[in-house]
Symmetry: C2
Subunit: 340 residues, 2 copies
Amino acid sequence: MSEKRRLTLKDIARELGISVSTASRALNSYPGISDETIKLVKDFAEKHNYVPNTMAVNFRKNKTMTLGLVVPEIIHYFFSSVVSGAIQTAKKHGYNVFVSQTDELLQNEIITCRAMLSSSVDGLLISLSNETNDCEHIQEILDEGKPVVQIDKVSDNLPTPKVIVDDYQGSFNGVQHLIDQGYKKIAHLAGWKEVKNSFERKRGYLEALKKNKLELDPSWVFHCKDISEEEGFTFAQRLMESSNPPDAIFCITDLVAMGVLKYLKSKKYKVPDQIGVLGFSNWQMAGLVTPSLSSVDQHGFQMGIKATEILINLLKSNTLGGDETVELKTGLVIRESSML
Amino acid sequence: MSEKRRLTLKDIARELGISVSTASRALNSYPGISDETIKLVKDFAEKHNYVPNTMAVNFRKNKTMTLGLVVPEIIHYFFSSVVSGAIQTAKKHGYNVFVSQTDELLQNEIITCRAMLSSSVDGLLISLSNETNDCEHIQEILDEGKPVVQIDKVSDNLPTPKVIVDDYQGSFNGVQHLIDQGYKKIAHLAGWKEVKNSFERKRGYLEALKKNKLELDPSWVFHCKDISEEEGFTFAQRLMESSNPPDAIFCITDLVAMGVLKYLKSKKYKVPDQIGVLGFSNWQMAGLVTPSLSSVDQHGFQMGIKATEILINLLKSNTLGGDETVELKTGLVIRESSML
DNA sequence: CTGTTAGCGCTTTCAG
DNA sequence: CTGAAAGCGCTAACAG
């Protein structure tokens, strides 16, 4: 390896006949350094392509200018939106981002959080896995004095700022839209009961039915485990073959809705005429399928930006932050699948 | 901030009445340290939750155990697959990953590469932006003695290992499949002429036509600029409204194919009966739309894994690597849109 | 097998 | 305004 040794402050000092500390101060434009020296040093550094050794700086300052970002699965459109927003914002403030994923497994989340801690990120952005209840691994990070901001899939047991979307309201509005369109027998393919987001979405669904005094057949609610397209297909089949089939299906996420649409098409149901479909998350594909899928928009990019801004502010003010919550409003993107 | 001071080696040494170096060696299980001491130190460390200060270690060893990964857009399914594969592999070898994106802009790529360099990644994985021709910013990294591995969108001017997919063959096979299905008038929505991947895909298309002695109407080839769904829609319209409409359309990427399908559906063309459609990349959505989209699979996840393995091997052997190329075979996923 | 010593590159007192 | 010196936490000669 050719390994040209990088220029150090010492080199600059020697060449310029000044002390290392003066060189350092000049480069960082400290108050109380003559403009002359500053110019001298900076010009020299510029000319010789001086790049400070970040490792040394980090070590010395006990900071890394790095944020950790842990999400369940980067592959999912919502999370890659969050990642994009976070990276963009971090960069703007001079921070780098470590991204990691848990594949929705608690064990991976624990390992990854420890890795983040040991690799000394200054702070952490995290969206919890479905399996996560106990949050000791995150508490450990807080105990070290490092701020954490939770995103979307959060735990109330953790005293950290949170950026979430109003799942309840988003869900309520979505179902209200279905009702406004004239659908009367609305089913719901829900997520894990234990996961707050799923719970809130289901609550929104139930409330909307209640408020509109609509029938709720308990057999209309299924709980997904994998939250996959396959489950959407399967549950749609069960729903439609039941003795009391619904006339609309509200799905915990767009991927599930895709399975539902696939089943309905395979059986030649007319969407939205015979049956309406509504998804959640507004994945890229929602606008591309036929019929296009109506969906509740979670604004992942915005969430990534907001959470990162909060984290960086905590870092700047050197505090851990309370458990204040920023709740973004959802959007409702009405497309063909629910437009009667 | 509560900021509990972390336990250091010095603390351990003091508590155990041994020297710092012994403690260090014991923790790292150096040869020539009594099992007794090793156990003593490790137990103590374990009990008191000793976490080595990675910054100090990195600084001392002049390594960061961090890989940089630069891609055009994380949001795109192919790239998030690459990211997933890379992160998984890196983790397996004890490396972390900085992910960044360029939004296909050269200027961003330059900035991001410098950031990677200054934040001292040990090596870099990169997929070039569409705009990138001149690769000085990457040469700089090589000049510092840090290995670089290029992925998918590569430049031959850069003497680094590359992991690519055989775009030519993938394209050729895809078009051959269309021909085998009986399509005779095959159009191509290509990408930027200057980008190698696009060029190779187009070459595969042209060769397949030639080899099968099929007509090639120059008006059947369009070059996309944004490589967007909208362009797919627009160009499909132009193709179908022309005096010599094709009976199949091969698209540079699935997103473009989505636009094509959308147009065809809007005009009630029967796919695949009247017109076949083939995409490239095999995005997640390809299997979810109706009709489902046939597509050439690029195995992004595998590419991420392979490239990361190569980079880590270079790091281990402390070399920059030559410009050897690993060319993965594409797959062909035949779905409804091309199955007569 | 273990201790002593030096030093990575930088920032930051403390003096002058 | 600048210099000298200390030290962040760890590893790696070098001695014993």
